[in-house]
Amino acid sequence: MPLVKQGKIVADGYIHVADDAEIPVDGAALIPAARFLADPEVLLKRSNPTGVIWPNNRDPEELVPYLDKLAVVALAFPSFRDGRAYSQARLLRERYRYKGELRATGQVLRDQFVIMLRAGFDSFEVKKDADAEAFAATVKRYTVFYQPTGDGRITALHQRMQLRHSESAR
């Protein structure tokens, strides 16, 4: 499953730790939520980057005390049509000011790239190679956005106001 980060296909440096597997002493690791919360202080002292795999039915507010130390929060799309992680992503970015890597995992297709970027994701475990390869082209599909989100893209409403003001200044 290719990983797309900063718009490019890259090697995934993280080990995905299964629910029942041992947590490696070295190496970057993504740790399941329950295990992470059982011992967060110790896990965050690991010598290599540590991230958490967060299920889409758990309140991300629980992560707030650890957000500045987490290297990755991986949110889940167990099916293409289950959109709970979009809300979690926006809350993490816009309300809890999480600055680290926010990763989309699960059923990730090119058709979601734009809204995922807008919701705050910046890395993508893409299901199909062809979609990962199409990333750069796909995210340029849209140039107009109606809603304000944390990604800072200007909304149509405000674009119009700017146009109007620049016209009246002339």
Binding site: F80, D82, S87, L109, I115, T143, Y146, A156
Partner: protein
């Protein structure tokens, strides 16, 4: 009319280009049907019994004449020469080919029409009063707010994959023509003591297999806060709405299971955390949208022109005038409803020729504007009263002057088993038979206002729960049976109808409805006591007795 600017047009074109790629990938086998399904639904494409069905949005029920002509073009070029107007201000084409869809969308995009989010688990077409902007006594034009919500909800990056579909309706009149109480969110525009515009917000209404009337979640949300408040509701729903069972996934079930107080408290907490955000609508932004709506240049005209007086001597004209013409905000003008319910016809259908002709009539008599209502009829919103006789003669030739608006043959029906893969029974033939039984206009007028709604399955697309008489098709041992409810209504007094007894077979439905109507005529306290009022006063018992005594 709202005029799309370059920004709106760009988005629609980008969406068409994206869908063209999605269709190409599907036809090449790069997308599975399961993956493609959610994508095509969000572009209005269903797979029905015989073909793909294509549902196109008519935002807040307003069309310009070029837009209606483009609908006629799509019907003619890509379909079988007709379209079907739905109960949510959409039009459906029933026989379209998948490979043609991107072209059809591109043709529609050229006049600012799209099919975005007419299906899928996202916010659907925001609907409102088909008389918006012309109805006497309206607080203000609700379409300004409908357009703001349309933009807000289009391709929302957080709410495109909700637990289930999400429908918003707005009214600004005391008489609710938008059925806001049976929507996921219903908005009633009113003013606070300072004279500022805001909304009474209702939540959790809906029909389907578990009907609920919406409950008030907040009596007044200021206009500037409406987007953040709606976002709070959507966020709570997106996180906590049920996803384990699609029949329990609508927001009405969440509201019901939590209780409105608890749900309201969750929303309030969320709202307080984000109300002062970029979603706040400055007055300037609202006024910018308002300025994009153009209004007709009305003239000073007489309310009693000679043409009208002379024509009223013709009883056919007089009957139509009384039935299909309603008062307008401006002196000398009227709102004209065009019945799409001819005797023996499928409710809500219009041919390409009719659509083209209505577009021409709109240009000639109604400032180029056409409206579409949830009752599946069209309207010309601003007709000079002196033009009414000439308009009537032309509508009559087109078969669009049946004087049955709001009467027993103005039936709302879903497409049913003639088209729909979800249906248990047919709906259209029941409607057709009923229009023949009550074809006598004197009888229909004597009966007065009476809404019959027919759904071919429990999904309730014909809104049978809120019909004065509701007819629901169910399957029993491979045969079509119909449950009859009475006393429902969809307006400001919305209530779910009551079942009168065991389901009846297809062949008996029209007889049963005749019995119910006869019982009403015998039972009503006075000629102007409406059917629903008689049911409210007496309950269902006398009707039940009448229907089942001899069955």
């Amino acid at each position: 009319m709202y005029a799309y600017d370059e920004i709106d047009r760009t988005l629609i074109n980008e969406r068409v280009a994206e869908f063209r790629d999605q269709v190409k990938r599907r036809l090449a086998g790069e997308l599975t049907e399961d993956e493609f399904k959610m994508l095509r639904l969000m572009n209005g494409v269903y797979l029905q019994l015989h073909a793909y069905m294509f549902r196109v949005a008519i935002p807040y029920g307003t069309l310009s004449s070029p837009q209606l002509r483009k609908m006629a073009h799509v019907a003619r070029r890509y379909d079988r020469g007709y379209g079907h107007f739905t109960t949510r201000q959409n039009i459906q084409f029933n026989w379209i080919k998948l490979a043609d869809l991107p072209d059809a969308l591109e043709d529609l995009a050229s006049v600012g029409i799209h099919a975005m989010q007419t299906s899928g688990n996202c916010t659907r077409n925001v609907t409102t009063d088909q008389w918006a902007g012309v109805a006497p006594g309206e607080v203000e034009d609700p379409r300004i707010w409908a357009e703001l919500l349309r933009q807000y909800s289009t391709m929302h990056p957080e709410f495109s994959f909700l637990p289930r579909k999400f429908k918003i309706a707005i009214t600004a009149s005391a008489h609710d023509r938008a059925a806001i109480k049976v929507h996921d969110i219903g908005l009633r525009i009113h003013k606070n003591e300072a004279g500022e515009t805001g909304f009474e917000v209702l939540v959790g209404g809906g029909l389907g297999r578990t009907p609920f009337i919406g409950k008030v979640i907040k009596p007044f949300v200021h206009g500037r806060d409406i987007l953040s408040y709606v976002e709070s509701i959507l966020r709570v729903y997106n996180q906590y709405g049920r996803r384990d069972n699609i029949y329990k996934a609508r927001i009405k079930i969440l509201v019901h299971e939590l209780g409105i107080e608890k749900f309201a408290a969750e929303v309030e907490d969320e709202w307080l955390a984000m109300r002062d955000s970029a979603l706040t609508l400055d007055n300037e932004v609202v006024e910018d949208i308002r300025s994009r709506f153009s209004y007709p240049h009305y003239q000073k005209l007489s309310d009693t022109p000679d043409e009208l007086t002379a024509a009223s001597a013709d009883p056919h004209f007089a009957r139509w005038l009384k039935n299909s013409v309603a008062p307008h905000q401006r002196t000398g003008y009227a709102i004209v409803t065009l019945s799409l319910k001819p005797v023996g016809g499928p409710p809500g259908d219009a041919t390409a020729e009719q659509m083209d002709a209505v577009a021409d009539l709109a240009d000639k008599y109604s400032f180029g504007e056409i409206r579409v209502g949830h009752e599946q009829n069209l309207a010309l919103p601003s007709v000079a009263k002196h033009d009414l006789p000439a308009l009537w003669r032309q509508l009559d030739k087109l078969g669009l002057a049946t004087p049955n608006v709001n009467l027993v043959t103005d039936i709302i029906a879903c497409p049913g088993l003639d088209y729909c893969s979800l249906a248990n029974t047919r709906s259209i033939p029941i409607a057709q038979e009923l229009t023949r039984r009550f074809a006598n206009h004197d009888l229909a007028e004597l009966i007065g206002r009476l809404h019959i709604n027919i759904s071919g399955c429990i999904n309730a697309c014909g809104h049978h729960h809120v019909g004065h008489i509701g007819i629901l098709g169910v399957e029993k041992n491979g045969e079509e049976f119909f449950q009859i409810t009475i006393g429902g209504r969809a307006d400001e007094h919305a209530v779910v109808g009551t079942l009168i007894g065991p389901a009846v077979p297809f062949a008996e439905v029209a007889d049963v409805i005749e019995d119910i109507v006869e019982a009403y005529l015998a039972l009503r306290a006075r000629p102007d006591e409406l059917f629903v009022q008689t049911v409210e006063r007496l309950g269902v018992e006398p009707f039940k007795e009448r229907v089942y005594a001899t069955r």
